[in-house]
Symmetry: C2
Subunit: 216 residues, 2 copies
């Protein structure tokens, strides 16, 4: 039974790798599990067929035989639990790696997504520019705390884990903002993530979808 | 070894139960694990002692012997994994329950927190009221999707799980907004959560902290 995930037929970021299927692709590449991809248009994502799998009309989903999952965090955790390579086996280190998955999604990513919302969905509102400065300040607080914690370490907690996969994925959203450059150890941490062969394969796979779409 | 969690000495919601320690208390009550609480002032939360446990200077933390965890989602998952009562044991249903934890935190809560930020932290900004209407519309979309999915079911996925604990906790943030009342099945779902004896004990315990503080 082959794992099947869903992804945007036409990624809004034009292949920059920020859609959440890249995170799932990366996890599957790290553990060496092959997968199929079913591409969905924005219209198809809101149709009954997809809503039966994903009640919020989003991508990615994950199908493996009878099991259907959505939520990138849950999918990656499920992959990490069933295959070696993304979570330590000892109770304590395992719980700490899982903790960093949640920290990436629930403490570091929210102000970053708030920035994206203000920049894109509220670009024509009169407050857009002024509010962007507020969100940037909130992001700087989180980055500063994360930077202090990481220090000179290579990864957040010993060896590379699903927690790093998620944190690097979240921080990658800031690449174009210049904010990451204010924290050199975080910029280097993200670069180490991007340098992993599994990440490179995941990135190339999602880029190929965009390239195929835009070629004549 | 007794589990110790941290909580606000002076909860910003004045005992309404919305601080995240209530979620952890609820999980511990569901599985019958006694716990101690260490209360922290806002100043103490930003001091080195606490930052060594929680690099983002937040509550709650969870200490059990040598293991220190932060992030409510990670703490509740750790509790659910080690004690019966919050996760099914079969692989598929277990993964689906974990999925709902992530859905609560990453899909349903973000627009709700955005509303809170706009209402509280940006109350004096010129855009506050207008932006509040935007966030409310975004919340309605998520609530509508969740309501459609829940239908007449008692809980999200078979029996009560950590996914429901988290989803009810997230929806409780909307009690004062009136938005929940637009979706009667969600309002009833939240009421079922609040009616659980474990939730009642957790709520009473956090309220007692506020009551003790404000009594002469």
């Amino acid at each position: 039974m082959t794992v099947t995930i869903t992804a945007f037929r036409q990624s809004p970021d034009r292949g920059a790798g920020l859609a959440r299927d890249t995170r799932v692709r990366w996890a599957l590449e790290e553990v060496g599990v092959p997968y199929d991809v079913r591409l969905l248009s924005f219209r198809e994502m809101k149709e009954a067929g997809h809503l039966a799998l994903q009640p919020f009309g989003q991508i990615p989903t994950y199908e493996d035989g009878d099991l259907v999952l959505f939520e990138t965090g849950a999918i990656i955790f499920h992959i990490a639990e069933r295959h070696a390579g993304l979570l330590p086996s000892e109770t304590g280190p395992r719980a700490r790696a899982i903790m960093w998955m949640f920290a990436a999604l629930n403490t570091v990513e929210p102000p970053i997504l708030d920035r994206t919302t203000t920049k894109l969905a509220e670009s024509e509102e009169p407050w857009s520019e002024q509010r962007l400065r507020l969100t940037d300040d909130r992001i700087r607080i989180r980055l500063g705390q994360l930077s202090d914690h990481l220090g000179d370490a290579e990864w957040l907690e010993g060896g590379f884990s699903a927690g790093d996969l998620m944190m690097v994925s979240v921080l990658l959203r800031l690449k174009a903002s210049g904010l990451l450059g204010e924290f050199p150890n975080l910029a280097a941490y993200v670069a180490r993530g991007e340098d992993r062969p599994a990440y490179k394969r995941a990135f190339a796979a999602q880029l190929a979808v965009f390239t195929a779409l835009s070629s004549p």
